[in-house]
Amino acid sequence: MEASFAYKVPGGKLIKIRLNYGSTIENINILGDFFIHPESSIQKLEARLTGLQIDKTEDEFAAIIEEVRRSEGAEMIGVDPKSIAHAIKMAIKNDGEVENH
């Protein structure tokens, strides 16, 4: 199934999640006008999220994202692990409906 969800982080930037999934995430793009230093961390993050079970909780997704952030020594500006996790869960919950918040 294909899904996407756009989420404006309060006080931050826009995150757009686009993913394909069955019982697991088959592929995922984390898009938006935020900043992550170093920028290459985004590919590491997308690779780490690929293959994960979609029934993980938002907190579980956030913990995994935080783990990648730390191992990459990445700094996120206008976005954070919690808001990315929220957008992922919303994309899955929406079942392919595109929404903007």
Binding site: R18, L31, D33, I36
Partner: protein
């Protein structure tokens, strides 16, 4: 330690070369062959640049841009989609240790040069974190930064003349949605130098130059032959390629 900065005065270039030049200077600063550099440029033909995490097809009306000869390019930096026309762009490239280590603090410092430049034109602007400069709450400048292998690049634009109708035509908003209300709302959020000061684009460039050069040891320079060659290479191999521009 004071380091001498190279200033490259306003040049009009295409999108791919503009991004190629920034990239080539970054490489030169990293390898120690280029001095830290501040350059000013405009875009001809007009172009849309997108942030490195954005999707070109999501953000940009690609067909309209192609039809109207507007170039499309993905930046090295994050941030949002920008329509480049009737504005002055700058880039500042130096060793990261020449700037505050905090990213927001370094935005604040560099945006301070623009704020000073605008004040010369009688425009009172302020830094609006994360990466904007505003006049009376309306955006006049957007900025984006990357740090790679010890080198900091920040580039940004100062809007000289804001034309929302043109902007909406190229950014990916369906025609049905381009209502008068939207244009009015954009005018409530974005402003331009011309709205506040009746100066030429050349005068804006000079004011920004003074803002960036204040208290700095600098010389007016040009690109080296090596940088020109590398920039051209980046332009043809990377920034004009679909594999880079449409990679997300």
């Amino acid at each position: 330690m004071t380091e001498k900065w190279r200033i490259i005065e306003l040049q009009e270039k295409g999108a791919y070369l503009n991004m190629g030049i920034d990239n080539a200077i970054m490489d030169g600063v990293k390898s120690g062959t280029s001095d830290p550099t501040i350059r000013f440029y405009t875009w001809k033909p007009p172009a849309v640049s997108i942030g490195c995490f954005q999707s070109m097809r999501d953000e940009v009306n690609v067909e309209t841009c192609k039809k109207n000869g507007i170039d499309l390019v993905r930046r090295l930096t994050g941030g949002g989609a920008v329509y480049h026309d009737r504005e002055v762009t700058y880039s500042i490239i130096g060793s990261a240790d020449m700037f505050p280590s905090g990213i927001i603090e370094s935005y604040r410092q560099i945006c301070g040069y623009i704020i000073y430049g605008l004040s010369i034109l009688g425009i009172n602007s302020t830094f609006a974190p994360i990466n904007d400069i505003v006049v009376e709450g309306k955006k006049i400048s957007g900025n984006a930064q990357t740090r790679r292998e010890g080198v900091l690049l920040q580039h940004g634009t100062v809007i000289y003349d804001f034309e929302p109708e043109k902007m909406f035509g190229v950014l990916n908003i369906s025609k049905e949605k381009i209502s008068d209300k939207m244009i009015k709302s954009a005018k409530d959020r974005v402003t331009s130098v011309l709205e506040h000061s009746n100066v030429s684009m050349g005068e804006l460039h000079l004011a920004l130059l003074r803002g960036f050069c204040k208290g700095r040891d600098y010389y007016i320079g040009t690109l080296s032959a090596e940088e020109e060659h590398a920039a051209l290479n980046y332009s043809t191999e990377k920034y004009s390629s679909d594999s880079w521009n449409f990679s997300r």
